[in-house]
C-alpha cells in the first residue's frame, strides 16, 4: 500500500541547489570504487534481456517451421533450446540482481556512515535548525534513495532502454510496416503517461497526508479519553475522527479512479495494439510476405512493450527524487562547523588557572533578538557560582557558550587569560561535566548511559560514581544493574532516577568544572533534596556553575549572578543580595521560603 512511504513527502517539487557536476564530485569517492561491479551488472543485464527476447523467437520457429515440418525431433530440439535459454537467463538475472544489490548496499553503508560522522562534527546551531526527525531522514531515507539510484534505479533504466530497443529492433527487422503502425499507437500513449503519473503521485501524496492526520488524531485522543469523558466531549472526538475518515475516503477514491483507470486503459491499449497488428498484417499473411509465426511474434512483443514504457516514466521520477536526496546530502557534507578546533592542545592548557571570565559577551542565535548583551562575569576556581533569573533570560545561553556549543557573537570567554576558542574542542570539553535540564538518556544499558558509550571505563569506576552521589540503590532498582536496559528517553525510570543517572555520569568523567543547567527543577521535592545533598558533596574542591530555578539550592553559592533579559543585573552573595532588596530579594519573597527571609 502507499501509506508507509512517508519519506516521499518532502519533494513533490524538488528544489535543486547543486548542478549534476557538483553532485557527482561529492558522490564519486563513495560510488567510484564500485564502477567495476556496476559494469558487470550492466553486462549481465544485457545478456539477460537478450535471453528474454529469445522466447517469442523460438515460439515463432515452432509455429512456422518445427510443427509444419511434422518432425518430432525438431520440436524436441526447439523445446530444449527454450529450456536452455530460460535457465541461462534466470541464472544471469539472479547474478545481476545480487551484484547490483551488493553494490548498492556497500555504497549506502559508506554514505550513511560518512553523513552521520560529518553531522556529528557540526556545531549545535546545526542541530537547532533541524528536528531529530529531519536529520534521521537525511541519514536513512535520503541515503537509501541515493543507493537505489546507483543500483536498482539505474538498472531499471538500462533494462527499459535495452528491452525497448531490442523489442522494437527485432520487430522492425521482421516487418517495418507493421512496426510503424504499432509505434503510431505506442508513442502517443507513452507521452501521455508522463503527466498522468505526475498527477497520480500528487493525489496519492494527499491521501497519505490525510491518513497521517487520522493517525495523529487517534494517537492524541486515545491518550486523553478520561479527560474527554469528564468534559462530556467524547462525541466531539468521535465526530472529528469520522469526518476526517470521510475526507480520506473521498481523496482515496479520486486517486484510485485515476490509478486504476490508467492501468485499465493500458490494458485496453494492449488489445488495441493486437487489433492494429492484425489489420496491418492481414494482407501480408495472405500474400505470404509474413508468416503466422511472425504475427504471433509481434503480438507477444507488443504485449511486453507497454510495461517497460510505463516503468520508464516512473523510473525517471525516481531519478529526480534521488537527485534531490543527493542534493540534500551534499549540502550537509559541505556545511562547516561554527565552532572549529583551536590549535592549542593538552600541553598548552594553563593548569594553574585562577578564573574563568566572560568578557563583555554578546550573543544571538542567527538574526534573532540578542540573547546576551554584554555579559561579564567571573567564575573563580573552586567556587560555586549560581545563575538565577526568570526563564528565557539568558542563563542557558551562558552555559551553552561555556560548553562551546556556540561562538560568542561579540566579546570572549577566557580561562587563565586564554580565550577558550584557542583550544582543541576535546581538550576543553574534557574538563567540563554537564548535567542538563532536558534529561538525556539513551536507549542502551545503564553502563552505556553513564559512560556515554565508552566501553573502556571499568565497572568499578561506574559503581563508584553512583556511590559518590548515594545512588547505588539504582543498581538494585534497575533490573540488570549496570547491564540493565534503559528504554528510549528513560521511560522505564522515574524522573528522579533519570536525574541521578545524569548526575552520576557527570561525576564519572571527573571534570574540573561542573555545569548544571536547571538540573533540579523537574524533580519532585523529595528527590530534589537527595540530589542537593549529593551536589554539596560534589562541589567540594571543584569549580561549579549552577543555573538555578529554585532559590533554595542557591543559598550556599559563593557568588550569585542575577540574569535578566540577557544582562547581569545584580551580583553578590545570597545575604548581600537580600539586603539590597532588589530583583533577587523579590524572587525570594515569591517563593515564600520562611528561613531565607528571616536569616
Amino acid at each position: 500500500m502507499h501509506y508507509d512511504d512517508d519519506f516521499m513527502d518532502d519533494d513533490d517539487h524538488p528544489q535543486r541547489r547543486y548542478p549534476l557536476r557538483v553532485l557527482w564530485r561529492g558522490l564519486k569517492p563513495i560510488a567510484g570504487p564500485h564502477a567495476g561491479a556496476f559494469a558487470l551488472a550492466a553486462g549481465l543485464l544485457l545478456i539477460g534481456i537478450a535471453g528474454e527476447l529469445c522466447g517469442p523467437l523460438i515460439l515463432r520457429q515452432m509455429i512456422d517451421e518445427a510443427i509444419p515440418s511434422r518432425s518430432a525431433g525438431r520440436v524436441a530440439a526447439l523445446a530444449g533450446l527454450y529450456a536452455a535459454v530460460f535457465m541461462t537467463t534466470m541464472t544471469v538475472f539472479y547474478t545481476q540482481v545480487i551484484v547490483t544489490t551488493k553494490l548498492g548496499l556497500l555504497i549506502v553503508r559508506d554514505l550513511k556512515g560518512k553523513v552521520f560522522e560529518h553531522m556529528l562534527s557540526l556545531s549545535q546551531s546545526f542541530f537547532d535548525s533541524f528536528p531529530s526527525g529531519k536529520l534521521m531522514a537525511r541519514v536513512e531515507s535520503d541515503c537509501e534513495r541515493v543507493r537505489m539510484l546507483f543500483s536498482e534505479t539505474s538498472m531499471a533504466i538500462l533494462r527499459s532502454i535495452m528491452l525497448m530497443t531490442g523489442t522494437i529492433g527485432i520487430m522492425a527487422v521482421t516487418n517495418l510496416r507493421i512496426t510503424g503502425f504499432v509505434m503510431l499507437l505506442v508513442l502517443p500513449v507513452t507521452l501521455a503517461t508522463i503527466p498522468v503519473l505526475r498527477l497520480m503521485r500528487k493525489l496519492w501524496a494527499q491521501v497519505r497526508a490525510s491518513y497521517s492526520r487520522i493517525s495523529g488524531l487517534v494517537a492524541e485522543y486515545v491518550r486523553a479519553v478520561p479527560v474527554l469523558q469528564v468534559f462530556n466531549a467524547t462525541g466531539v472526538a468521535a465526530g472529528k475522527l469520522t469526518s476526517e475518515g470521510r475526507r480520506f475516503l473521498g481523496l482515496e477514491v479520486k486517486a484510485s479512479i485515476w490509478e486504476y483507470g490508467f492501468w485499465g486503459f493500458l490494458g485496453s491499449c494492449e488489445v488495441a495494439a493486437v487489433a492494429v497488428i492484425l489489420t496491418a498484417g492481414r494482407g501480408g499473411v495472405v500474400a505470404g510476405t509474413i508468416t503466422v509465426g511472425s504475427v504471433v511474434l509481434f503480438i507477444e512483443y507488443t504485449r511486453r512493450l507497454f510495461m517497460p514504457i510505463v516503468m520508464f516514466s516512473e523510473t525517471l521520477n525516481q531519478v529526480q527524487r534521488a537527485l534531490a536526496s543527493a542534493d540534500r546530502i551534499n549540502s550537509i557534507l559541505s556545511t562547516e562547523t561554527c565552532t572549529p578546533d583551536g590549535d592549542l592542545g593538552e600541553e598548552d592548557f594553563p593548569e594553574d588557572w585562577e578564573e574563568i571570565r566572560f568578557e563583555d559577551v554578546w550573543f544571538r542565535y542567527g538574526r534573532a533578538e540578542w540573547a546576551l548583551k554584554g555579559v561579564s562575569l567571573v567564575i573563580a576556581r573552586r567556587s560555586l557560582v549560581a545563575l538565577v533569573g526568570a526563564s528565557g533570560g539568558g542563563k542557558s545561553t551562558i552555559v551553552s557558550l561555556l560548553m562551546r556549543f556556540y561562538e560568542p557573537t561579540g566579546g570572549r570567554i577566557t580561562i587563565g587569560g586564554i580565550d577558550i576558542r584557542r583550544f582543541r574542542l576535546d581538550v576543553w570539553r574534557r574538563r567540563l561535566g554537564l548535567v542538563l535540564q532536558n534529561v538525556s538518556l539513551f536507549s542502551g544499558t545503564l553502563s552505556e548511559n553513564l559512560t556515554v558509550f565508552d566501553s573502556s571505563v571499568p565497572a568499578r569506576r561506574q559503581i563508584e560514581s553512583l556511590r559518590t552521589i548515594e545512588a547505588e540503590d539504582l543498581l538494585e532498582r534497575i533490573p540488570g544493574g549496570l547491564s540493565g536496559e534503559i528504554s528510549e528517553g528513560g521511560q522505564n525510570l522515574s524522573m528522579g532516577e533519570r536525574q541521578l543517572i545524569n548526575f552520576a555520569r557527570a561525576v564519572l568523567h571527573r571534570p574540573e568544572i561542573l555545569i548544571l543547567d536547571e538540573a533540579t527543577s523537574s524533580v519532585d521535592p523529595g528527590t530534589e533534596k537527595r540530589i542537593q545533598k549529593a551536589m554539596d558533596m560534589l562541589f567540594e574542591g571543584r569549580t561549579a556553575l549552577v543555573v538555578a530555578h529554585r532559590l533554595t539550592t542557591v543559598r550556599n553559592a559563593d557568588r550569585i549572578y542575577v540574569i535578566q533579559a540577557g544582562q547581569v543585573v545584580e551580583t553578590g552573595t545570597h545575604l548581600e543580595l537580600l539586603e539590597c532588596g532588589g530583583v533577587y530579594a523579590g524572587l525570594c519573597r515569591l517563593q515564600l521560603v520562611p528561613e531565607a527571609v528571616n536569616a
Binding site: 510443427i67 518430432a72 539472479y94 550513511k112 542541530f127 478520561p226 482515496e252 504471433v296 539513551f442 523529595g526
Partner: protein, 573 residues
C-alpha cells in the same frame, strides 16, 4: 475460523450494492481472462479464411470481438480499485466502531491498554497489508477471483486436451512446495531486518536528541563506530534477504516456464499428431501464463488470513472489554453548593494503591488544598471527584446527591477539570478551550485572560494552532490553555490536579489573584506542592500513605499535626 468471516460479513451488510458490484466484476474479470486466448485460438486455426480477401465481415467480427475484450479489460481494470474502495470503507467503519467503544471505557481499560498499543490497534492493525481492511474485501474477493479464474481456465484447457493439461501441471506441486518453504525462511529474515532498522533509528534518534551530551562527553567517534557496526550487520542481513527473494522469484519464473516448455514440447508433438490445433497450442501457452498468479494467490490467502485474524482478535479484544458501568443518574444539579465525602475510598484492583477513609464536608465558595507526599493518593482523590474513578467504598455526595446518581452530562457542565498532563489537541487554541461546547469568542478570551494567557500574547490569537498533543507552545502555556478550558464553562466545581508544576511561582500567584478578583462562587479543590498556595486555601485535606490523615486549616495543622509539619518540610517548596 468461521467467526472471523461472520464478523467481516457484518460489515458487508451496509454495503450490499458495492458487494454485488464486486461479485459482478469478479465474473467479468475471470471471463475476460478466458476470452483473450480463445480469440487467438480462433484466429490461428482459421488463418486462411479470416485473413483472405473477401472475408472482410469475418475479419470485422474478429476485430469487434477484440474490441469487446479490450473494453471489458478496461472495466475489469477498475476491479482492484473497487476492491480497494470497499477495503477503505470497511477499515474506516471498523476504526470508528472501535474508537466509539473505547470512548465508553473506564479506568480498568486504560490501566490495561497503553495509548501506544491502542493507537496501533486502531491504525496499523486495520490499515497495514494484509490486515483487517485489506483482508475484509481484497483478501476474500481476490481468492474468489483466483479460484474462478483457475476453474474456468482449467475447464477450457481440459476441454481442449485433457492429457496436455495434466502433463503440463505435473511438475507444479513440487515447485509450489519448494516455493512455500523458502517464503517462510524469508519471513524470519525480514523480521531480523526490521529489528536492525529499528535499532538504527533508535541510535540516530537518541544521538540527535541528546547531541549536547554526546558533544559534551566527546562521544562522537564512539557513536560513529556504533553506527558503522550496525550498518555492517544490516548489510549482511539485507544481502541474504535479496538472495532469498531472488530464489523465490526465480522459482516463480521456473514454475511458469516449466509449464510453457512442456506445452511447447508436448503440445508441439500433439499438433504434429493432429491431436490439437496450433490455435490450441497458443491458447494453452497463454493460459498457463495466466494460471500462475491464481495458483500462488489461493494458498497466500491462508497465510495472510492468519495475520488478518490476529488483528481482528486484537481489535475485538478492545471492543469487547467491558465498558464503564452505565451511570444511569438523572438527577440534575444546577449549581454546586456542597461536596461531602463519607468514608470515601478507591483502591486499584489487586493492589494497595489508591486512597481511603476520606470524610469531610465542604461548602461553596471555598478553596481546598489537597496535600501529601508523592503517592499519597492526591490525584486519585481528584479523579474520584471528577467521576473518572468510582468509590469502591463509601460515597461522595454533591449537594447531598450521590455522585453516581447525578446525570453525567450535567456533572460535566458544572465541573472544571485540569489534569496533570494538560491533554490538549492539535487544533486552534480557541477550539481547545471550547472543546465542543458552543462558546463565543468573548467567553473563550475571558477564560484565557483568567488563566493569565491573554489571546493577544499568542501569535495568531485564538486561531493559533497547536501541534500534535498540544505541541508548539511552551509547557507553561499548555497548562494555561488547559486551565482556561476548565474555567470557560464557568464551573461551580473546580478540580486542579497538580497542574501548576509547569508554571513559575509568580504565574501561579497571578492565577489565584485573578480567580479571587473575578469573584465567582466556586468550590475549588487543588492538589499542590507550593506552600504559597496552601497558605491561601481555606481548608487543607492532608493525605498520608493513602489514607486521610486530617482536614483543617493550614495554621491548625501546622500547630497540631507533627506528620503534617514533617511532610511540609520535605515535600513543599
Amino acid at each position: 475460523m468461521l467467526k472471523y468471516f461472520r464478523w467481516i460479513f457484518r460489515y458487508y451488510r451496509t454495503h450490499r450494492l458495492h458487494t454485488v458490484f464486486l461479485a459482478l466484476l469478479t465474473l467479468i474479470s475471470a471471463t475476460v481472462a478466458l476470452a483473450f486466448p480463445l480469440v487467438f485460438r480462433y484466429l490461428l486455426d482459421n488463418v486462411q479464411e479470416v485473413l483472405a480477401p473477401g472475408s472482410e465481415d469475418r475479419f470485422l467480427k474478429l476485430l469487434l470481438a477484440l474490441g469487446a475484450v479490450g473494453f471489458a479489460r478496461m472495466v475489469a481494470g477498475f476491479y482492484p480499485g473497487a476492491r480497494a474502495w470497499l477495503n477503505s470503507k470497511i477499515g474506516m467503519e471498523v476504526r470508528d466502531d472501535a474508537f466509539g467503544e473505547i470512548l465508553k471505557k473506564d479506568y480498568r481499560f486504560f490501566s490495561k491498554f497503553g495509548p501506544g498499543d491502542l493507537s496501533t490497534r486502531l491504525t496499523d492493525d486495520i490499515v497495514e497489508y494484509p490486515r483487517i481492511a485489506w483482508f475484509s474485501c481484497s483478501g476474500i474477493f481476490r481468492a474468489v477471483e483466483s479460484a474462478s479464474r483457475l476453474v474456468f481456465c482449467l475447464g477450457v484447457m481440459v476441454f481442449m486436451s485433457a492429457e496436455l493439461t495434466l502433463l503440463s501441471l505435473v511438475p507444479l506441486p513440487i515447485m509450489l512446495w519448494i516455493f512455500y518453504r523458502t517464503e517462510r525462511k524469508l519471513g524470519k529474515r525480514v523480521e531480523e531486518s526490521r529489528k536492525a532498522t529499528s535499532s538504527t533509528s533508535d541510535l540516530l534518534d537518541s544521538t540527535f536528541a541528546g547531541i549536547a551530551i554526546i558533544k559534551a562527553y566527546r562521544a562522537e567517534k564512539g557513536q560513529s563506530g556504533r553506527l558503522r557496526r550496525l550498518l555492517d550487520s544490516r548489510l549482511a542481513i539485507d544481502l541474504s534477504i535479496t538472495k532469498l527473494v531472488m530464489v523465490i522469484e526465480s522459482l516463480y519464473s521456473v514454475l511458469g516456464e516449466v509449464g510453457k516448455v512442456t506445452v511447447l514440447f508436448l503440445g508441439g508433438l500433439f499438433v504434429i499428431r493432429d491431436r490439437i490445433s496450433i490455435g490450441d497450442l497458443y491458447a494453452f501457452y497463454v493460459y498457463l501464463d495466466m494460471l500462475l498468479a491464481p495458483m500462488i494467490d489461493i494458498p497466500n490467502l491462508f497465510v495472510t488470513s492468519k495475520q488478518a485474524f490476529a488483528s481482528i482478535d486484537r481489535v475485538r479484544e478492545v471492543m469487547d472489554f467491558p465498558p464503564a458501568p452505565e451511570r444511569s443518574g438523572v438527577r440534575k444539579l444546577g449549581s454546586v453548593d456542597s461536596v461531602e465525602f463519607r468514608n470515601a475510598g478507591f483502591r486499584y484492583p489487586g493492589c494497595d494503591a489508591g486512597v481511603i477513609g476520606v470524610t469531610g464536608r465542604f461548602e461553596s465558595p471555598m478553596t481546598v488544598a489537597v496535600v501529601g507526599e508523592v503517592g499519597s493518593g492526591k490525584s486519585t482523590l481528584v479523579k474520584m471527584l471528577s467521576g473518572q474513578l468510582p468509590c469502591t467504598e463509601g460515597d461522595i455526595l454533591v449537594n447531598g446527591i450521590p455522585l453516581m446518581e447525578v446525570d453525567p452530562s450535567d456533572l460535566s457542565l458544572v465541573t472544571g477539570y485540569v489534569p496533570q498532563e494538560s491533554s490538549l489537541f492539535s487544533d486552534s487554541v480557541g477550539e481547545n478551550v471550547r472543546l465542543g461546547r458552543g462558546m463565543e469568542d468573548q467567553t473563550v478570551e475571558r477564560a484565557l485572560a483568567l488563566a493569565d494567557l491573554p489571546a493577544g500574547d499568542l501569535p495568531e490569537g485564538l486561531e493559533t494552532k497547536l501541534g500534535q498533543g498540544g505541541s508548539g507552545v511552551s509547557g507553561g502555556q499548555k497548562q494555561r490553555v488547559a486551565i482556561a478550558r476548565a474555567l470557560a464553562g464557568d464551573p461551580g466545581l473546580c478540580l486542579f490536579d497538580d497542574c501548576t508544576a509547569a508554571l513559575d511561582a509568580d504565574l501561579e500567584q497571578r492565577l489565584w489573584d485573578g480567580l479571587r478578583a473575578e469573584g465567582g462562587r466556586r468550590l475549588i479543590f487543588v492538589v499542590t506542592h507550593r506552600e504559597a498556595t496552601v497558605r491561601q486555601s481555606d481548608l487543607v485535606i492532608f493525605l498520608h500513605r493513602g489514607i486521610l490523615n486530617a482536614i483543617g486549616t493550614h495554621e491548625e495543622l501546622l500547630r497540631t499535626n507533627e506528620v503534617y509539619r514533617l511532610v511540609l518540610a520535605t515535600e513543599m517548596s
